[in-house]
């Protein structure tokens, strides 16, 4: 307790030097929490949106389906029967049939994926009810990304060409029944959504599907022959990898900031020990053990992190809190890069994040404070009292100033 009191008095007594260190350290604190908060917020938003728009509570994939291998698409469709059909009828699964096609907006040729979805489904957020319309042309809904790349808008009619299950060309007009906005590019880019029964008829694949999406909150999906179960961990793994790589990139920024702050504290400690030799000698002469003096100087250095936490809280809480409420707008569109990213990100500052950051900063500050303080243990009290303590490293460091 005495060490803490003494340390605090010495720190405050050091004036500007202390506050400069504290300011730099608090900046590192706030930036680390801010950066990690943005990534956590992005992660939460992306996971929620992917579940909401695409993944549901997990999916069944036809055994040949591989979204990254176009070779598989022609054969990856099977009849939905047995337990799967029962689940579809109960409303816990919705089938999606996927095939390839070509559209000709304004005479330009564009390869796309054609996805068939039940207009009455409520499992994913795709506004499929807009497909429930009577029209000679095939009703289709598209995302804003697709609308922008194909220069299409609601009410536009465009020719779609496709090949049926036998490979014969067929063509017909589609009418854009709606344009939806989503942050999930995998349900938007280069694809159109049309009624499932129309696509099954067009492809001569009655009752067939490529994937089946389960209702959100589904705990487990039973294994079914000819279909592979894809749980949420798998379906969200791409997003997890992106967040992990971004976190690793952010570590470099934290590292630089922490290095700056810790270097300042380390130097302050070295200088303090050199200049305060008589004081150290005095402490020992008055009965303090060398270990107690080392502890005093270590606590003094570590107190920087306590003050930095307090200072960081003074300006960080309102600043970061405001961002968490209002969100941060990014000039880039994530869907252009094929990643799920909302136009406005809401950082998420969890208690765990704050506690871990505070502990890391305190621990590293304590270590860099203890490092130079170890030299005190080598001092002879008589030399220290006379200010004659000499150490090559110390001397070099002081001489370089």
């Amino acid at each position: 307790m005495m060490a803490i009191k003494l340390a605090l008095r010495n720190l405050v007594g050091a004036g500007l030097r202390t506050w400069l260190n504290v300011i730099v350290l608090s900046l590192a604190f706030v930036v680390i929490i801010w950066h990690k908060g943005i990534l956590d917020g992005w992660d939460r938003q992306a996971r929620t949106d992917i579940i909401h728009w695409e993944a549901g509570g997990g999916q069944y994939w036809q055994k040949d389906y591989d979204p990254y291998d176009p070779f598989t698409l022609n054969d990856s469709h099977s009849r939905v029967s047995g337990i799967l059909e029962e689940m579809v009828n109960k409303g816990t699964l919705t089938p999606v049939l996927i095939t390839q096609g070509t559209i000709y907006p304004s005479g330009r040729m564009q390869s796309i994926l054609v996805k068939g979805i039940d207009p009455k489904q409520k499992i994913v957020a795709i506004p499929s009810s807009q497909l429930d319309t009577a029209s000679d042309a095939i009703p289709a809904i598209i995302g804003t990304g697709m609308a922008s790349s194909a220069r299409l808008k609601k009410g536009d009619i465009v020719t779609l060409r496709w090949r049926d299950r036998n490979g014969a060309f067929d063509a017909g007009d589609i009418i854009i029944a709606g344009v939806f906005k989503t942050t999930v590019p995998s349900v938007d880019g280069s694809q159109i959504w049309i009624p499932l029964d129309r696509l099954q008829k067009m492809m001569m694949m009655p009752g067939e599907a490529t994937i089946l999406v389960s209702k959100q909150g589904t705990k487990t999906l039973p294994e079914v022959d000819g279909w592979r179960v894809k749980n949420l961990d798998f379906l969200l793994s791409d997003m997890d990898k992106i967040i992990k790589s971004k976190t690793a990139g952010g570590m470099i920024l934290w590292g630089i900031l922490m290095m700056l702050a810790l270097l300042a504290i380390f130097d302050t400690q070295v200088l303090a020990i050199f200049r305060r030799q008589k004081e150290i000698g005095m402490y020992i002469a008055m009965g303090m053990t060398k270990r107690q003096v080392v502890t005093l100087f270590t606590v003094e250095g570590a107190m920087h992190s306590v003050l930095a936490t307090l200072l960081g809280a003074i300006y960080g809480i309102p600043l970061l809190g405001l961002q968490a409420i209002k969100g941060i707008s990014f000039p880039m569109n994530g869907s252009d890069y094929g990643i799920s990213m909302a136009e406005r990100l809401y950082p998420y500052y969890g208690l765990k994040l704050i506690i871990i950051t505070v502990l890391i900063v305190m621990l590293t500050t304590t270590i860099v404070s203890y490092w130079p303080a170890r030299k005190i243990a080598k001092m002879k009290p008589t030399d220290a009292l006379r200010g004659k303590f000499n150490d090559k490293v110390f001397a070099k460091r002081i001489a370089s100033r």
């Binding site: 176009p70 070779f71 698409l73 022609n74 390839q100 070509t102 000709y104 304004s106 005479g107 330009r108 040729m109 390869s111 020719t159 060409r161 090949r163 049926d164 036998n166 490979g167 014969a168 060309f169 067929d170 063509a171 017909g172």
Partner: protein, 244 residues
């Protein structure tokens, strides 16, 4: 009224009776256009919105299953090679020194910006094997009298389920073709010209492809130095030949 109907019916029957069997014409067309194998150099002129590009190539073809093409001009495309074996297609690009297989979406992309897709290039078989033909009229194309044949596919696997072709009455070579989707939508139009007698068969040396759903003036395909039924060594149609 009855008399009028009888005259009309007799007239129609008489008119159709004058038409030859579609199947016979189709056989003759196939005899002219298909061969055991052929080697030719060609020019592909792609007419874009603003400019036209010419691409020269040399091709070796055996039946409708094997084909190998090497691009010779322009410099940018020189050395690019394309191999078709049955329903598979590979492309070798010298700039990347890689062989890639064309599949899925990519098969629907146009070949070097032309009106031909890779899929179109892979469709090349005898019409008689896939279509029922009916002569539905007689018209003149480029000053030459032609039979108009409506072809309906009996094979569900064939790409174009409906075709309409205008066949030169004397030379049994199509001078115009229209390709239809199952729904009846016109997809592509092909104009054939510069018909020459090569080794006893009539063959159009110039073809103009037009994807009617796409903007542009189409793509000209001009064949030069065509040789039929010459010996082509097996190694030509191998993947190893792509990198040679």
């Amino acid at each position: 009224m009855k008399l009028l109907l009888a005259i009309l019916f007799t007239g129609i029957t008489f008119a159709y009776a004058q038409y030859p069997e579609g199947k016979d014409i189709l056989k003759k067309v196939d005899q002219n256009l298909t061969s055991e194998n052929r080697v030719f150099t060609s020019k592909m002129v792609i007419h874009g919105k603003r400019t036209s590009r010419t691409i020269e190539s040399k091709s070796w073809t055996a039946g409708d299953k094997k084909s190998f093409t090497e691009y010779l001009f322009p410099a940018r495309e020189q050395g690019t090679k394309m191999l078709k074996l049955d329903d598979q297609l590979w492309i070798y690009s010298p700039s990347t020194d890689r062989i890639i297989q064309i599949a899925g979406h990519m098969l629907r992309q146009s070949v070097m910006g032309s009106d031909l897709s890779y899929e179109d290039m892979m469709e090349d078989s005898k019409l008689i094997n896939h279509y029922n033909a009916k002569v539905t009229g007689a018209e003149t194309v480029d000053g030459r009298p032609c039979w108009v044949l409506t072809l309906t596919a009996f094979d569900p696997d064939v790409a174009y389920q409906g075709l309409k072709i205008w066949v030169d009455k004397d030379r049994n070579v199509p001078l115009r073709e229209e390709m239809y989707a199952k729904s009846g939508t016109l997809l592509k139009r092909l104009t054939l010209a510069d018909v020459e007698n090569i080794n006893g068969r009539w063959y159009p040396k110039k073809m103009v492809f037009k994807d009617v759903l796409k903007e542009g003036d189409g793509t000209e395909f001009i064949m030069e130095n065509i040789q039929f039924n010459v010996a082509i060594p097996d190694y030509i149609f191998s993947k190893a030949n792509l990198k040679k």
